[in-house]
């Protein structure tokens, strides 16, 4: 017995000193290192497989598309110039002499390969719907046509031709996303399923390259000396630390361990003189299932729901006023014709405050049509996720609808993925959900609600709406196209097809020693390409 105790004690003592994971080397004094954190790891760095903000943000820094988005403006990327046909369908890109991080020249065939891989059903990219505007993309992705029929072609080593199914001005901006980036066929073939799994199993053509990646721990990006525009990059290194607890991340920022941190709503008041705000593009709304025979199939009932919610109260209570109440649908920041869409096409929508009189008016009309005498006999279910925050949100909407309309609202909370499942199977009445934009154009929000859209879980059917969107897809007249999209948005709201709620405005703290730290609402949270540190 005594001996065994000694053994245990020795083992414990050994463990306490011996097998600690390797300590990180102390950083050299001078390099310009920018550090920020994510709450969980970057799911993938395979350019065609990413479908999350963290993946897209890292990809934005390590890959360069045919074009590059720079604070909302389309700039040349690996392509130094391009032409677009008059009908807006054929794009021809001329590539510059650029190199991969391993020194190999970047070839047009690698763009062809990457874009084909995005749409190839065998590769199973979860984000392939992004490329559906390319000629034959739908048929290729559903396996009805071979991938070679896709509207992308390497004319020669330095020329890429892309053909679209319908004209889309935003396509140039989309091409900056990693899903459309050049991809090396030799590496995909060599590594198979392990392609891009570790820093050495891919090569990079963006401003930075991946040096180290410890899952759920940290990712280190360093300046890519082979990037064609390397001279314009000031940062030497970007450290992305994984810190699951937002309070911990905030404490690390205060202690100087991070240069950028997201401030949770509860702490915004404390830091309000120093935070910078940015819209991440996420747009939260309540989906209404119009396919059910109940009251939700009635337009006036849906309008009553819309006027009965007080959006300002909602964001004030749930986010301490951090998020914006959204009385319309499309994010006002997306591109219009010459300026932001919201500036060119202002719309008061349902207002940020409840309009109880209007709500009751619409309710009365709906009840007359439905043959209901007492509003309290109307019961609707409100579906949401099972987090505390979702509960708080649901209770506020429930309270506002019950109080302002006299109807009965039952809140149902389910796990996040079950909620998504129920949405796509259309087994809900009303559900709190949202959408993040894929490109800077009102279409990214409006294409959801056409009759044939796979995302139209509310079964909204409007011939007029379909017509506006179809026109916008065909038109090459920018103003007429944008007018049609605006008409579609107004039509959607006039039909009460959804209940818009809020636009997510996040608050950040940035180390004042750095300049040029950008944020954007599509495809990347943070843009550090032009970031620099004032030399000390």
């Amino acid at each position: 017995m005594k001996r065994s105790l000694v053994v245990v004690a020795c083992a414990l003592a050994l463990a306490a000193t011996g097998c600690a994971p390797k300590a990180e080397k102390a950083e050299a004094a001078s390099p310009k290192v920018f550090r920020f954190s994510y709450v969980s790891d970057i799911p993938t760095l395979d350019p065609q497989m990413g479908n999350s903000m963290p993946s897209a943000t890292v990809a934005f820094h390590i890959f360069d598309g045919l074009t590059r988005m720079d604070n909302g403006a389309v700039k040349p990327g690996i392509a130094e110039s391009w032409t677009v046909s008059d009908d807006g369908l054929v794009y021809v890109f001329k590539l510059r002499d650029a190199k991969w991080s391993d020194g190999q020249p970047i070839k047009a065939q690698e763009f062809e390969y990457g874009i084909r891989r995005l749409m190839d059903p065998a590769a199973a990219s979860p984000y392939s719907f992004l490329g559906l505007l390319i000629e034959n993309a739908d048929a290729v992705n559903s396996g009805k046509m071979p991938v070679e029929k896709l509207g992308v072609r390497a004319v020669d080593d330095k020329t890429v031709e892309l053909r679209l199914a319908y004209p889309a001005d935003y396509f140039l901006g989309m091409l900056s996303m990693c899903q459309f980036c050049a991809t090396r066929p030799d590496l995909v073939e060599r590594y198979g399923k392990d392609f891009a799994a570790t820093p050495d199993k891919n090569v990079y053509d963006g401003p930075f390259m991946v040096k180290e990646w410890a899952r759920e721990d940290r990712m280190i990006l360093v300046k890519n000396p082979n990037y064609w525009n390397a001279d314009s990059i000031a940062l030497d290194e970007i450290d992305i630390l994984i810190v699951p607890d937002e309070n911990t991340a905030l404490a690390m920022f205060d202690a100087g361990d991070l240069d950028l941190v997201r401030v949770p709503p509860a702490f915004v008041e404390k830091y309000k003189d120093r935070v910078v705000y940015y819209y991440d593009g996420s747009n939260d709304f309540i989906k209404l299932n119009m396919a059910s025979k109940g009251p939700l199939s009635d337009k006036d009932f849906r309008l009553a729901l819309n006027y009965a919610v007080d959006r300002q109260d909602f964001v004030d209570i749930t986010t301490k006023g951090l998020y914006d109440a959204n009385p319309r649908y499309v994010l006002p920041q997306v591109a219009g014709v010459d300026a932001a869409y919201g500036t060119e096409y202002p719309l008061p929508g349902f207002g940020v405050r409840a309009d109880v009189a209007k709500a009751k008016d619409h309710l009365a009309k709906a009840m007359a049509r439905l043959g209901v005498a007492d509003p309290s006999s109307i019961e609707i279910e409100f579906l949401t996720s099972d987090t505390d925050r979702s509960r708080a949100q649901a209770e506020i909407v429930q309270d506002q609808w019950q109080k302002n309309l006299g109807i009965k609202v039952v809140v149902k909370q389910v796990p996040y993925r079950q909620r998504l499942d129920m949405e796509s199977k259309k087994t809900f009445e009303t559900v709190f959900t949202g959408w993040a934009p894929d490109y800077s154009d009102p279409m990214t929000y409006l294409e959801l609600w056409t009759s044939d859209s796979p995302y139209n879980h509310g079964s909204y059917r409007s011939a007029k709406y379909d017509e506006y969107v179809a026109f916008a897809r065909k038109s090459t007249d920018k103003r007429a196209r944008m007018d049609a999209l605006f008409a579609a948005e107004k039509e959607l709201l006039a039909d009460g097809a959804i209940v818009p709620m809020q636009l997510r405005r996040e608050s950040l703290l940035v180390n004042p020693a750095f300049t040029g730290v950008g944020t954007y609402f599509i495809g990347t949270n943070y843009d550090l390409v032009h970031a620099d540190r004032a030399s000390k």
Binding site: A13, A16, A20, M49, A196, D217, D245, T248
Partner: protein, 306 residues
């Protein structure tokens, strides 16, 4: 003895088989699936299901999985695309084990000492202090303990790093935070066990024989009182070593707990299964070792159970 051990091993293997089968069925019964996302379309879902082999009958999927499992291959994670579950465990487990062993070392050494000191000084002020420590340790949840330690030592006084796991100084706060509950548990158990032993005849006999107080405590009391601690140490070691989500989250340590929780949240079937199998194997092995140790320590157990 050999037959006893063989029997224990067979029972352990059967337990694991049942565990894998039940968990395999359970993850698939969970509502939603790994492909659910705001932007999923039926077309893309079909491609993904084919890619992951989910279009095949469930029984076939089960047999394929078991076939790979027997060879030690836990398959590719779905959330962490392109990474195998084996790799994830191989990277994450050392962190959790390191943290767990440190926590265990603190808990056992300090806990035993407190328990013994407390029992020997029954109803004196020092006993009261030890009891209070034990009550605090068992009643304060680890996330509060983690935050309190982090706030005072890391943020307020700046004595130790706030988070991450990059060297000895970084390990102190999470180890203490993680070990505190076990420390309190061990000290409480040891205290009551010691108090029981004091009443035993053999202690009285030793005292009557005129043995020194130190000798009585060391040879007669502690050696007998420690048995219940050995009993609980098996499962405690397994649970402490295999990761703890709360402490790992607060201190940003890339251990097992973090991966486990994120795998469940994202319904990463292969990762949930792989980690459960690993946890299960670990726990079963820990219990097996305790069983075998019992058999060695106390022949009566071997006879009764074997």
């Amino acid at each position: 003895m050999g037959r006893y051990i063989l029997k224990r091993i067979l029972i352990s293997l059967a337990t694991l088989l049942v565990l894998v089968t039940v968990v395999f069925a359970l993850v698939r019964l969970m509502p939603g699936d790994p492909f659910s996302s705001e932007k999923m379309t039926p077309q893309v879902r079909q491609n993904l299901e084919r890619y992951y082999g989910f279009d095949k009958p469930v029984l076939e999927q089960y047999l394929t999985y078991m076939g790979r499992l027997v060879r030690g291959d836990l398959g590719y994670s779905m959330k962490y695309a392109n990474v195998t579950v084996n790799e994830i465990i191989a990277k994450a487990f050392p962190y959790s084990a390191d943290l767990g062993l440190r926590a265990l070392a603190i808990a056992v050494s300090v806990g035993l000492t407190l328990g013994v000191v407390s029992a020997l000084n029954r109803k004196k002020p020092i006993d009261a202090v030890c009891v209070v420590v034990a009550i605090i340790g068992t009643s304060i949840p680890d996330f509060i303990m983690g935050y309190v330690l982090q706030y005072f030592f890391g943020i307020r006084w700046g004595l130790l790093p706030i988070a991450q796991y990059k060297g000895f100084a970084y390990t102190i706060l999470p180890s203490v935070g993680l070990g505190f509950y076990t420390l309190a548990l061990v000290s409480r158990l040891m205290r009551s066990s010691m108090l029981e032993v004091v009443q035993q005849d053999y202690v009285k006999t030793a005292r009557a024989k005129g043995a020194s107080r130190f000798r009585i405590v060391r040879k007669h009391m502690i050696r007998n009182a420690i048995l219940p601690i050995v009993t609980v140490l098996g499962p405690i070691t397994a649970s402490v070593l295999t990761g703890t989500f709360v402490i790992e989250s607060i201190f940003a340590i890339p251990g097992m707990g973090k991966f486990y929780v994120s795998s469940v949240q994202s319904l990463d079937y292969t990762l949930v299964l792989g980690m459960t199998v690993f946890f299960g194997a670990f726990l079963v092995t820990a219990n097996l070792i305790v069983d075998v140790l019992y058999g060695i320590v106390d022949p009566r157990i071997r006879v009764a159970r074997g």
